[in-house]
Amino acid sequence: MIAALLRAQWLSMRLGSSRGSLLSLITGVIWYGFWCSVSYAVGEAVQGYSVSALRIGVPTGLLAVCLYWQVVPIISASLGSALDMRKLLVYPAPHGQLFLVEVLLRLTTGAEMVLVLLGGAIGLLQNADVGGWRGGPRILAGILIYLLFNLLLASGLRSLLERLLSYRHVREVVVFLMLAVVTVPRLLMVSGAGPKSLGGLEPLIGIAALPWAAAGRAVLDDAPAVSLLILVSWTVVAGWFGRWQFERNLRYDAMAAQATPLEAAPAPASSWSERFYRMPSLLLRDPLAILVEKELRSLARTPRFRMVFVMGFSFGLMVWLPFVLGAGRDRHDEFAENFLIVVCVYALTLLGQVTYWNSFGFDRSAIQIYFAAPQPIVLTLIGKNIASLVFVYLEVLVLTGLTWALRVGVGPAKVLEALFVVGICALYMLAFGNISSVHYPRALRPERVSQGGASSRFQALVFLLYPLALLPVFLAYMARYAFNSQAVFVVLLALAALLGGVLYRLGMESAVNAIGKYRERMLTDLSQGDAPVTSN
């Protein structure tokens, strides 16, 4: 059964375009190249440390591995590849085998950590103080069992989250809670309300009964038999949890959970949501007005988009707030002064994965209506860009309110500056995004919260583009700092806007030309069905 599944997946992937393969190769080399160097550095460090240092370092590192593996897929809203049960449940495939494949697929969100663990293991094998090559079986056993523990735990968490995130009106709350769980400890730490350093993690790495501590003790030859027993116990618990959640997902009907109540009448024209959706018709003429209106309606109802939108202001705030509210920090330093701009630009970049980087993703095969309608395609792209900007500025509005409430250096001048800077940065992002949307379109299922973003490697490429896109604005800020002159800042910002405008225009022309040439290929890419394994 597994062989048939893998073959079907391979054949499905084989149909991918060579453009996609090339992009995948480039991003793969960059992304995994980076993690290989991290792995090498970890190996070198572990090889040279004394046992006493390793007693703290190894469990801490293993805890970091666990956190990355379990938490990063959640906060990046990319839960990785998974079996598409709608296609597989019709076959008499034993659930145990499907679960096995599902567990192995968790490698898609933790391959980086496998590299790091590998580097650490090699380092330990070369460290004579912990037994060196003689301790090989013990070290490898500890690392492999810990790897399995993470795979099983990630599988259970993924199943649980996928179910929770599919409930109407629940997903945004879940996302917010998840973010709070991740960031509040850090907030407490830097604000002085909690432990002041990683020393505060001592209870987490010091208790031998915890999995990372047990794994650490096992590989360091510290009561290895007991430690391995504890680790195996944790792995069994993680396996039970994973299988339990997997079985629950098999019986779960996501479509039913998301269904509109039968008695729901159309929203009255006077409702706030209808007024919001109708806003473009007050300001623009058709077809641009209806194109923007359609985007606003569609995106606002797309679970995946809503989740990222909530993340845009909540996650950004939680990540950057500690830098401002930290104990003893000056609320009037350069960073605090520009806090609103930082979080707004962060929100702009986060929204990209569900809007401008892959503008046609949620439309799927319905993209053909843009080609069939008697309207120039450039208007469709402009409409999508305007809708993206509406949501970006909504984020700015929310963030302004929140930062004002937190009393973090927000005056009218800063709000105005944020509006301009976000607009200028958006020009660059949209310019790149329009090209990417046309050349690398990817069909997305709007109802799937766990699917819709790019793969982590594509995100890596995007993160490489961000510095390029943000460079002109960054230079304007540097100039203001260096020359202590507002006039220089304004002039450079104006130049950045001008350059952004030119780039946007060129990007738009290139995208429109590409649509003319590759329309058929776009239709094919966006109409493709899924393979047995759905990615990210």
Binding site: M255, Q258, A259, T260, A264, A265, P266, A267, S281, D286, P287, A289, I290, L291, E293, K294, R297, S298, L299, R301, T302, F362, D363, R364, S365, A366, Q368, I369, F371, A372, A373, P374, Q375, P446, E447, R519, E520, L523, S527
Partner: protein, 249 residues
């Protein structure tokens, strides 16, 4: 004499070394109910996609409603109603919102588009509620697609399997609507695998196989000797063969 609704000469379209459409000649008179038949993979959908401007042809002459494609593409699009094989529906809009969207994309005033959308939902027995299209059944989706093709009152309908997945009541309703459109002078060009439907609705047909037209004419001309359309279809394609025995079946 008015030009035909569709005039195609030596139309060609290849994918790699495979010719999907290989020298198609076609003439569809105005006001006719035209059935475009053929086995799976014969080139029907590709032809319709080319006629709607969704994909470009490699070569050939195309005239629709007296206008040249691709030269007069925008004006042709304004006068075509399209029901493609794949969904052109936006899953996160309600039926009413989608119809308004299509109406306004075809240049209707907002108020007119909203009013027509409401009328069409009623005509096609679709509920005007908050349910989004993504939650519709296959048959309901086809009805919405049909409604979308009607909203701008086109002169030519290009439909790829419009009755697929539609229940008997819905199909009957859609057929009545299309017949009404032909009576007012519009042209309907459709593909269907349900030959009974084609036999009952269409006055002219063309059969395509391996990317080329193998026969065309009126239904009567095709059904030589009073045979059924299905028999005639199989005969024209030369597809009759003995069912091979499989030992295990």
């Amino acid at each position: 004499m008015s030009s035909p609704a569709i005039l195609v000469r030596d139309l060609k379209k290849s994918y790699g070394s495979k010719a999907a459409v290989n020298g198609v000649d076609l003439e569809v008179p105005r006001g006719s109910f035209f059935g475009f038949l053929g086995p799976n993979g014969a080139g029907k959908s590709t032809t319709i996609r080319i006629l709607t401007g969704l994909i470009p042809a490699d070569s050939g002459y195309i005239e629709i409603l007296g206008m040249r494609l691709p030269e007069d593409e925008m004006e042709i699009k304004r006068r075509i109603g399209l029901v493609p094989d794949e969904s052109l529906l936006f899953d996160r809009l309600t039926g009413a919102e989608f119809l308004e969207f299509v109406g306004r994309m075809y240049g209707l005033e907002r108020g007119v588009a909203i009013e027509r959308a409401r009328d069409l939902l009623e005509l096609l027995e679709l509920q005007n509620d908050r349910k989004v299209i993504g939650e519709y059944s296959k048959g309901m989706r086809k009805r919405v697609a049909m409604a979308a093709s009607l909203i701008h009152h086109p002169d030519l309908f290009l439909m790829d399997e419009p009755f697929e997945g539609v229940d008997a009541v819905g199909a009957r309703l859609m057929k009545e609507i299309l017949s009404g459109q032909v009576r007012r002078g519009a042209t309907v060009f459709l593909t269907s695998h349900v030959l009974e439907v084609v036999e009952r609705l269409c006055d002219r047909i063309a059969i395509i196989n391996n990317g080329a037209i193998v026969t065309s004419g009126t239904i009567e001309e095709l059904r030589a000797g009073g045979e059924s359309l299905e028999d005639a279809f199989v005969r024209v394609l030369g597809a009759e063969r003995q069912l091979e025995r499989l030992d295990w079946l």
